[in-house]
């Protein structure tokens, strides 16, 4: 596309949702920004996501704070883009968490109580009333709670829109531009980014390379413990609307934090505007293996049918899989790397990158411009206990 600029105030590496949001925020703050992408936009995790913007799946803590900030950010962004006539299919469709067992009921109720205390809106729904939200839901529920703040976006459209807006503020986008090196001066500060197509002089690099963010860090000579955690999704044929909101199995929340060595699954079911139904989700640490795990997919289908018996006769059209950038302590890495001044990480969001992107971009923009962050950024810092140290401990233990 456009020629590489000789210099930029900031270089963003990666044109997924996080990179696009950071580019947009930095460009809006008046910085000249170049976005470098090794493939084309959304080549990594973003396009493999469902576009979930969730607060419901998070336990109180720093990630939930980030999610609540991001949730408001998406609402603002969606409205601003809509004013410009740009549609990113942002839909405040709400989420319904359901349980079919007594244990599930207890888990739902306890979680709702903790989340309410942290500022999440949770409406208790009597199990027998859940079908008013979802007429095709099984009647054999033990509990349900409704999360009106949960939203949905079309992630690829969102990335395209954010990049477009960033370009409106002077940013440049360079697909098919692989980064080959990060230059720094004697003082250790970054001075530029080398690519296959030339070098961009810059003192600020935002590492939003997701799955490849560890490789980018490696170019600067530092270790970043981000590994791929695989997920699979089933996509049905287009149908008249059968599923209206996001519907989660109660053990979804438990799955995210489950022992990562085990393949885990929980049903997450939702309809899309194009008429397809998406059925997730699974989590596996299998490197970058792209062979589908049919055993897991079969169990996902079975669980989806448990919750929505009508799905038994619905046809599966395709499956896809993606790799979430997974840090060992389940928290995104957002902020300047204390080891390499000028290198900012915006990565490790695992399966929540789309949801957390606007808040991540605000933290990055604040860190780059030296402004006050809207929430405490320290839990996401590279030098937090549990990230590098946790990794070293894990290595020492093996």
């Amino acid at each position: 596309m456009s020629r590489l600029p000789a210099t930029a105030d900031a270089v963003v590496i990666g044109a997924g949702i996080v990179g696009a949001a950071c580019a947009d925020a930095l460009a809006a703050a008046g910085r000249s920004v170049a976005v470098l992408e090794r493939h084309a936009l959304t080549g990594g995790t973003t396009a493999a996501g469902e576009g979930n913007l969730l607060v419901s799946d998070k336990e109180p803590g720093p990630e939930l704070d980030l999610a609540l900030l991001a949730n408001r950010g998406w609402t603002t962004l969606g409205a601003a883009l809509a004013d410009d006539g740009v549609d990113i299919e942002l839909e405040a469709k709400g989420g319904l968490m359901v349980a079919t067992t007594d244990a599930g009921r207890d888990a739902i109720d306890a979680l709702a109580e903790r989340q309410r205390a942290a500022g999440v809106v949770v409406e208790q729904v009597a199990a027998e009333d859940a079908h008013r939200f979802e007429p095709h839901l099984t009647r054999e529920l033990t509990a349900a709670s409704y999360y009106p703040q949960d939203q949905q976006v079309q992630p690829v459209k969102a990335v395209a829109a954010l990049l477009e807006r960033a370009r409106g503020h002077g940013a440049t986008f360079h697909p098919a531009t692989r980064v080959t090196g990060l230059h720094h001066g004697r003082d250790g500060r970054l001075t530029g980014v080398a690519t296959e197509r030339g070098t961009v002089g810059t003192e600020v690099v935002v590492n939003a390379a997701g799955l490849w963010s560890a490789e980018v860090a490696e170019l600067a000579g530092v270790h970043l413990p981000i590994r791929p955690r695989r997920g699979q999704i089933l996509v049905t044929e287009p149908l008249p609307r059968l599923v209206h909101r996001k519907v989660y199995d109660a053990d979804y929340v438990g799955t995210i934090a489950a022992d990562p060595a085990e393949a885990a699954l929980s049903a997450v079911i939702e309809g899309t505007r194009a008429g397809t139904i998406l059925i997730g989700s699974s989590r596996e640490l299998v490197g970058l293996d792209r062979n589908p795990n049919w055993d897991l997919l079969a169990r996902m289908a079975a669980r989806a049918i448990d919750l929505f018996p009508v799905l038994a006769e619905v046809r599966l059209l395709r499956t896809y899989l993606g790799f979430r950038p997974y840090p060992p302590d389940h928290l995104p890495v957002i902020g300047e790397d204390h080891r390499i001044p000028g290198l900012f990480h915006a990565t490790g969001h695992e399966g929540a990158g789309i949801g957390l992107a606007p808040a991540t971009a605000r933290l990055i923009a604040a860190a780059v411009t030296g402004q006050r962050a809207p929430i405490d950024p320290s839990p996401f810092a590279v030098d937090r206990p549990g990230l590098l140290a946790g990794e070293e401990a894990a290595r020492a233990g093996t």
Binding site: L239, P240, A274, G275, E313
Partner: protein
């Protein structure tokens, strides 16, 4: 379908059914009219009308012979679609049979007394 069973009548140029040749080189067995050798016709319902079909015909072929070319509206823009690839690869010719489906009309065999309906699932961009 108008009835056309007088032996020796001139072929109807609008009739899309071709008299099948006999197996080998012998005379067509059971040749008793323009559709000779096709066996005993039956009917099914399509979109409120009665359609004649012969044993072995697919729903798509029988509908085409009955003059039905537009099988369904496309999901997003409601543009008419018909038989396109004819071999089950393109999924344009979807219909519903007795409430079940969609099935590909180019593959699914026509069956007596079934209700074939238009597969119409509007979609949003």
């Amino acid at each position: 379908m108008p009835a056309r069973d007088q032996r020796g009548a001139a072929p109807d140029p609008t009739d899309l059914r071709v008299t099948p040749p006999a197996e080998g080189s012998g005379p067509v067995r059971g040749d008793d009219g323009p559709h000779g050798g096709r066996g005993t016709p039956f009917t099914f319902r399509h979109d409120g009308r009665t359609v004649t079909a012969y044993p072995g015909e697919t729903i798509g072929a029988a509908l085409l012979a009955a003059g039905v070319r537009a099988l369904r509206p496309s999901g997003f823009d409601a543009r008419p679609r018909g038989l396109f690839c004819g071999i089950g690869a393109c999924f344009d010719c979807l219909v519903t049979v007795d409430g079940d489906g969609p099935v590909r009309a180019c593959l699914a065999a026509a069956a007596p007394d079934t209700e074939v309906e238009v597969h119409d699932v509007p979609r949003q961009r």
